[in-house]
C-alpha cells in the first residue's frame, strides 16, 4: 500500500514538494471513505479540514431559500477540496457533498497551519499552491458567470 506522502506527491497540488515537507503534511493526514450523499462540510461551520480526492466526485452546493440546494461546481479525482482552513476566518462558505462513493485523503487543517507557522518555507509552498488553485477556480467561475449558453439577443 502506498504511503500518504507518496499519494499526495503524485497530485498537482503537492507535486514537487520536498520529501521532508511531504512527510510533515502526511503527518496531518489520513485516508477516509465517504458514501454518496454524505456531507463533508457545512456552510458556516469551522474550516478545520480539507480533502484530496483520490477517487470520486464531490459537489459544492449553496442552499437557497425556495430553490433548495444549488450545485455550483463539482471537483474530481486529484483535486483538493477546501481552502478556508488556510485563510481567516476559517469558516466554510459552501456545503460540500459526495456525489459518488469517494476515497479521500483528509487533512487536519489546524495541525497543518501550526506546522506552517513553525516552518515558513512549508507555509510559503502551501500558500503558493493553494493560491494557484484559488486563481484557477476564480477564472472558471468568471467563465461560468458569462452564462455563454444563455439566450443571446435575437438575430436570425
Amino acid at each position: 500500500m502506498r504511503m500518504i506522502d507518496e499519494l499526495i506527491a503524485a497530485t498537482p497540488t503537492f507535486a514537487g514538494l520536498e520529501p521532508a515537507h511531504l512527510e510533515l503534511i502526511a503527518g496531518c493526514a489520513r485516508n477516509e471513505h465517504v458514501a454518496a450523499g454524505a456531507l463533508l462540510m457545512r456552510e458556516g461551520e469551522a474550516a478545520d479540514r480539507f480533502f484530496l480526492i483520490r477517487h470520486g466526485l464531490v459537489a459544492l452546493e449553496v442552499d437557497a431559500p425556495g430553490r433548495g440546494a444549488m450545485r455550483i461546481q463539482t471537483l474530481h479525482e486529484g483535486e483538493v477540496v477546501g481552502w478556508s482552513w488556510l485563510f481567516a476566518p476559517f469558516r466554510w462558505h459552501e456545503d460540500v457533498r459526495a456525489v459518488e462513493n469517494c476515497r479521500l485523503v483528509s487533512f487536519d487543517g489546524t495541525c497543518l497551519r501550526g506546522k506552517c507557522e513553525d516552518d515558513h518555507e512549508l507555509g510559503y509552498q502551501l500558500m503558493k499552491r493553494f493560491a494557484a488553485t484559488v486563481i484557477d477556480r476564480l477564472q472558471e467561475t468568471r467563465f461560468q458567470l458569462l452564462d455563454v449558453y444563455g439566450r443571446a439577443p435575437a438575430s436570425a
Partner: protein, 269 residues
C-alpha cells in the same frame, strides 16, 4: 443557387427552445453532404438562416437540422409541422477534415447548440471507429434539461465514444459534473502530444477551451472550430460573413484555429 423545396417528415422537441426536423427533398434526389456543412434554410417569408446539418451523412435521403428557436427566421422554421415545406439551399462550406484526422486521438468540445454541427462528424467517426484513436466528447450545456441528443449519448458511448458531460448549474439530483467545459480536460486524461481538437459552441467557450488545450500542449494547427457569422449568400459573394481575409460561408464554417484565432481578438470585427 435556387432554393429547393423540402418537406418536413418529422419534428421532435429536444429542449424548451430547440427542435430537430427531418426533411425530405421533393425532388427525390439524395442530399449528399459532408459533416460540418450547412444549408440556408427558410420558412415562408421569414427570411433565410444558415443552419448546420445535424443528420447522419451516411443517410442522405434525410436532411436533418436541429434548430434553436431564437429569432424570426428560426422561430418560423421551428413552427413548421410535418407535411409543410421549407426552402433549402446548399450544402455549403468547408467540412470537418475527418480523413486527415485518421489515426489520431480526437477530442471534440461541444457547447450548448454547438453539438448539432458536430453530430454528423461523430456519427461518421463512429461508423469508421477503427480509423481513429481515442474519440472523446467533452459536452457542456447550461443545465441538464438543455442537454441535446440525450437518447443517443449512451449509444455513442457503446460504439466507442468516451463521453464527459458537464453543466453550468444543476440541482442535487444531477449525478454528473458541474462547471465549465474546460474542467473536463483533466478527467479526460488526454495525451495531448498528437491530439486533434474539434470544437463548436459559443465563440467565448471555444476560445477558453482551445486556450486551455494549447496550455496543455495541443498545437493550434491541430485544432478546428466551426464558426458562425452573418452568412447570407452562402457562396462567398456578398461578404456579410467576412472575418479578416476569410469569407466564412466559403472558407468556413470549419476553420483551422491557428488561422482564425488572431482575427477573433480584433474588437468589433
Amino acid at each position: 443557387m435556387v432554393p429547393a423545396p423540402f418537406e418536413v417528415l418529422a419534428k421532435r422537441q429536444d429542449t424548451e427552445d430547440t427542435w430537430t426536423l427531418e426533411l425530405e427533398p421533393r425532388s427525390g434526389e439524395p442530399f449528399e453532404f459532408a459533416p460540418g456543412q450547412f444549408t440556408m434554410l427558410s420558412a415562408g417569408g421569414a427570411g433565410e438562416v444558415p443552419m448546420s446539418i445535424s443528420g447522419d451523412p451516411d443517410q442522405p435521403e434525410r436532411l436533418v437540422h436541429t434548430v434553436h428557436s431564437l429569432g424570426l427566421a428560426t422561430q418560423a422554421v421551428c413552427a413548421t409541422e410535418p407535411g409543410q415545406v421549407l426552402s433549402v439551399r446548399g450544402p455549403f462550406g468547408r467540412p470537418w477534415p475527418l480523413e486527415a484526422l485518421e489515426g489520431a486521438d480526437v477530442v471534440i468540445a461541444a457547447g450548448g447548440i454547438g453539438l448539432p454541427p458536430l453530430r454528423p462528424a461523430i456519427l461518421r467517426m463512429l461508423a469508421h471507429r477503427e480509423r481513429y484513436g481515442r474519440v472523446v466528447l467533452l459536452y457542456s450545456a447550461r443545465t441538464p434539461e438543455q442537454l441535446l441528443f440525450t437518447d443517443e449519448l449512451a449509444a455513442w458511448s457503446e460504439r466507442g465514444l468516451e463521453l464527459l458531460v458537464t453543466v453550468d448549474s444543476a440541482g442535487p439530483e444531477w449525478r454528473g459534473h458541474v462547471g465549465v467545459v474546460t474542467r473536463l480536460i483533466r478527467p479526460a486524461k488526454l495525451e495531448t502530444g498528437t491530439l486533434v481538437a474539434m470544437s463548436c459552441g459559443p465563440e467565448v467557450m471555444m476560445r477558453f477551451m482551445l486556450a486551455a488545450l494549447a496550455d496543455d500542449g495541443v498545437r493550434s494547427d491541430r485544432m478546428f472550430v466551426s464558426m458562425e457569422r452573418n452568412m447570407q449568400c452562402g457562396i462567398g459573394l456578398c461578404g456579410h460573413c467576412q472575418l479578416g481575409p476569410k469569407l466564412l460561408c466559403r472558407d468556413g464554417p470549419v476553420c483551422v484555429w491557428s488561422e482564425i484565432a488572431p482575427w477573433l481578438s480584433v474588437r468589433e470585427l
